[in-house]
Amino acid sequence: MSESTVKARRAASTEPLVRLKSVGLRYRFPSDGESTLKGLFLDSLLRRRARPVDFWALRDVTLEFRRGEVVGIVGPNGSGKSSLLKVIAGVLEPTEGTVDTSGQMPPIIDPGSIVNPMLSGRQNARIYGALFRIPPSEIEGFLSRIEQFSELGAFFDAPVRIYSSGMVARLVFSIAVTFAPDILLVDEILSVGDEHFQKKSYFKMLKLIERGSLAVIVSHNTSFLEGLCDHVVLLHQGRVISRGKPAEVLRYYRSHFS
């Protein structure tokens, strides 16, 4: 299955899975790092007024993603790419604007972050299952699919602390695509694992997209995005400064930011 046939066979579905309307996300930090009761006490005693520092990670972002689309997100470091994924996944509530989503939204941005090294791959998969709110009656079926896809063999029942980093990546990717195949939020996930598994996970993604999943991919690998995406969104300082056909947006990105 080549990329062009995937793009061609993708149904021209118009059902939006994700809709962001003038979304803004503000970080408000205390001016002196951590706030304390002691600080509060001293401030009121000395009649100081601590000014919090505001930082808008996203501002005025309006986007719509549909079924069967592959969307690439590019931008320099700190431009709001991960914040955008967090807002889409519902990890963070936007400070202003609205986010509407339908479909099984993955509840986690970076699935590797809650892997417990003391537990086996299977036990970790169970925890993710609970996080994805898979009914207990269906969990066993999911587990055997994860076991099969990850190709971890006997390691699937061994504690994750003895895994290599590539094996962890395989486990995590298998969990993500098995539990929430509707919407794939990918934050540079394909850069890990060996060549065989990279290919395998790439084709798995293509297959899911062909079946109507939405993929939102954050990556610095522009040639990878150019080959795969339907359109690309360029973020800079939290705002969408360009969006459209991958070739055009990426040309603009390369000429301005690299």
Partner: protein
């Protein structure tokens, strides 16, 4: 509020996993690990009982039973409060990377402390067996007293875990405060002994909770039913206020962890 509560209920399986993972980390996956966590409370109990039964000129078993009946619920409340301070701050990943009701974190601390509470009650039963204190039907009341105790602990845990997100020195202040509160409360000493202490006893809210345990265990009396109802009502209010505070502040956590 109702929407948030039903969401918490939907995540109950994940909550169980959280509790299990915390238990695993704490007890290192072994029964011996669990027994180790009992060493310090046991040592505290033996030291206090030995010293104060001599000082107060009372029998070891009589004083020990009184002390234990107040100390077990007290230490459950105090430990839940201090340990829940780390519940959110200690797991920033659940705030910044995962979409999950964050109230599960302090509630997992409550569950883990409830295991210790159960261990304390087993210890109490052993103590009664060793000193051949016979069974009395009013001991059943202890099971009912656990309801308001747990509700209050959950409310306190929610409140403390959220406070410590915004003020990192909250836990130090709390520890100091609890240390003083322990000695001011009638746990080591009996409330009826000294008339000048009465105002102190009457104004101390924890006294009423402890009474629900001290009366059946140490005095072999059924606790006053109106007292039970009042304490239960107030504990539920504490729980609801804790939930309300946590839910209203949860949105701002990501700027502070």
């Amino acid at each position: 509020m109702m929407r948030r509560l039903s969401e918490l209920w939907e995540y109950r399986d994940f909550w169980k996993h959280l509790v299990y993972q915390q238990a695993l980390a704490r007890y290192q996956g072994s029964l011996l690990g669990f027994l180790w966590t009992l060493v310090f409370p046991l040592l505290t109990f033996l030291t206090f009982t030995l010293v104060f039964s001599v000082l107060n000129n009372q029998s070891f078993s009589g004083y020990g039973l009184y002390f234990l009946s107040g100390y077990i619920p007290w230490i459950f409340l105090a430990n839940t409060a201090t340990l829940s301070c780390d519940a959110v701050v200690g797991s920033p990943v659940y705030v910044t990377r995962v979409r999950v009701p964050r109230a599960l974190l302090p509630l997992a601390v409550v569950a883990l402390q409830a295991v210790d509470l159960a261990a304390g009650l087993v210890l109490l039963a052993l103590f009664m067996a060793v000193f051949s204190v016979g069974f009395h039907p009013c001991l059943v009341a202890v099971l009912f007293s656990l309801i308001p105790l747990t509700a209050a602990a959950a409310g306190i845990a929610l409140y403390c875990s959220a406070m410590n997100v915004f003020f990192r020195d909250f836990r130090h202040l709390l520890s100091a405060f609890l240390f003083l509160w322990f000695f001011v409360s009638p746990i080591l000493w009996r409330p009826d002994g000294n008339a000048s202490l009465q105002p102190l006893v009457r104004l101390n809210p924890v006294v009423y909770v402890l009474k629900l345990f001290q009366q059946p265990i140490a005095y072999r009396q059924w606790p006053d039913f109106t007292l039970f109802l009042a304490v239960t009502g107030i504990s539920i209010v504490v729980l609801l206020m804790g939930l309300q505070f946590f839910f209203s502040r949860e949105k701002e956590f990501y700027c502070h962890v």
